[in-house]
């Protein structure tokens, strides 16, 4: 078991070392997510007041779109010199490779959220600090569910010709429950009077999705990666 996590850690550290050096994924996803929020802010904020629930929807759209970009670029790097095949050749449990890639994507998405969430708070006057731990729980569980499926599909599509088109086509329908739970939970949290039982219900739903998606992804990674 320790070897499993050692391999996952190695893969994640390698991905982050490359990203710290190039900053390519971070800058592009951040720019994309911020543009998304700003454009929607011009549409949905009138006379200093945002439309009901708009902040929650925009936040999760920005997370999903920028996450897709990060997933695509992360695996494009592995495709460039076929290094994903080298990882598959390693004498390690292949799910450990998946876990390492997933953790790398999660760190990147977390950094983007660190900038985008306050931006949404400012542009849409969303009460971010009213219930910070519940917001954190929604973001963490929602991001994990989205990235868990995304990492599996991005790895699977690594050798497909139309991978850039296919990734969102496959990813969004399957992660719709995660996005909806994220949006509804965040909307409940951003209301003037917070509906705490509702927030807890959506967080519980996201935890359930995470458990299902991560388990399925770990289980199917080895067979889907064998050509």
């Amino acid at each position: 078991m320790t070897d499993f996590f050692r391999i996952a850690w190695l893969v994640m550290r390698k991905d982050l070392t490359i990203e710290v050096r190039s900053r390519e994924i971070l800058y592009t996803t951040l720019f994309f997510a911020m543009s998304c929020v700003l454009v929607f802010a011009f549409s949905f904020v009138k006379e200093g007041r945002a439309l009901d629930d708009a902040a929650a929807g925009i936040l999760w759209i920005a997370i999903a779109f920028s996450g897709t970009l990060a997933l695509g670029r992360t695996f494009e790097r592995e495709r460039h010199a076929e290094t994903l095949r080298a990882l598959m050749m390693a004498p390690a449990d292949r799910p450990a490779i998946y876990l390492g890639k997933l953790m790398g994507v999660l760190v990147l998405m977390a950094v983007v959220e660190l900038i985008v969430v306050p931006l949404v708070g400012v542009m849409f006057q969303a009460p971010l600090l009213a219930h910070p731990f519940q917001l954190l729980a929604l973001l963490a569980t929602g991001t994990l569910g989205f990235a868990a499926v995304g990492t599996l599909f991005a790895a699977m599509l690594g050798r497909a010709r139309s991978r850039d088109v296919l990734l969102p086509v496959l990813l969004y329908p399957i992660t719709v429950p995660v996005i909806i739970a994220g949006v509804r939970g965040t909307a409940a949290l951003f209301q003037a009077e917070v509906d705490e039982p509702m927030v807890r219900t959506w967080v519980a739903m996201l935890v359930f999705f995470d458990a299902v998606f991560v388990t399925l992804a770990l289980w199917t990674f080895e067979p889907v990666m064998t050509e």
Partner: protein
């Protein structure tokens, strides 16, 4: 796990409707170098992919000693080293970081301490901290060879290992392969550099359109025999 014999029985592989390999059967033993020859698209890289456990055969079976890849799992991959046509190196990382990463991935003890020795053997001792993106094809090829061999594999699979190498590096590689043979490694190399491998390979397997058309000793002019078989 370890093994000293590799056995292929009726191995076929289809990609959609295209048959890349058709009922290929042969075996080889430790301490043997087998040359895989054939024109472009003959199925050499597919065969190496199957032997490396990256590609599953559509039918037939590969046995590593007593085991199949499915039975042996990750432990089998510890005994296989692959130098593919794509070099499996991260261009953003330095030469040292690449070798250290793969050394650790393969569970090599003291990987960081051994990096200097590996780089020295690749003739890149003074380029440890340089990113691989700045290397020439030949330098990358030498580094990728070290990456493929750093865990002392039993089965060594090489796809066009002489690509981009100058005369000195080619000579060093030939000597290295002789060393691997003496150590009891089982080496399969796919190449078009027939003159270079003459006298080096013990046997040649000639593939054409996915079929094994000749399996014979490595003596004589490989160029003439290759032409005769693939004409």
């Amino acid at each position: 796990m370890d093994f000293t014999r590799l056995t292929l029985s009726d191995v076929s592989r289809n990609f959609g409707r295209r048959r890349a390999l058709a009922r290929v059967s042969f075996d080889c033993d430790a301490g043997e170098i087998v040359g895989l020859l054939g024109p472009n698209g003959a199925g050499k890289s597919t065969l190496l992919g199957i032997l490396a456990t990256l590609v599953a055969p559509s039918s037939g079976e590969v046995r590593y000693g007593e085991h199949t890849a499915r039975e042996a799992g990750a432990e089998l991959r510890r005994r296989i080293g692959l130098l593919a046509h794509d070099l499996h190196l991260y261009p953003e990382l330095t030469a040292g970081e690449n070798l250290e990463f793969f050394g650790r991935l393969y569970g090599v003890r003291d990987a960081r301490a051994r990096v200097a020795g590996w780089l020295e053997r690749a003739g890149l001792g003074d380029r440890r901290d340089d990113p691989v993106s700045g290397f020439s094809r030949g330098m990358r090829q030498r580094l990728a060879l070290e990456r493929a061999l750093l865990h002392d594999p039993r089965l060594v699979l090489l796809d066009e290992p002489f690509t981009g190498l100058d005369d000195g590096a080619t000579f060093a590689l030939v000597e290295r392969l002789r060393g691997l043979k003496a150590k009891g490694c089982l080496v399969l190399l796919a190449t078009h550099d027939l003159e270079t491998v003459e006298g080096l390979v013990d046997r040649v397997a000639v593939l054409r359109e996915g079929r094994l058309v000749e399996m014979a000793g490595g003596g004589g002019s490989l160029r003439e025999r290759f032409r005769a078989v693939t004409r």
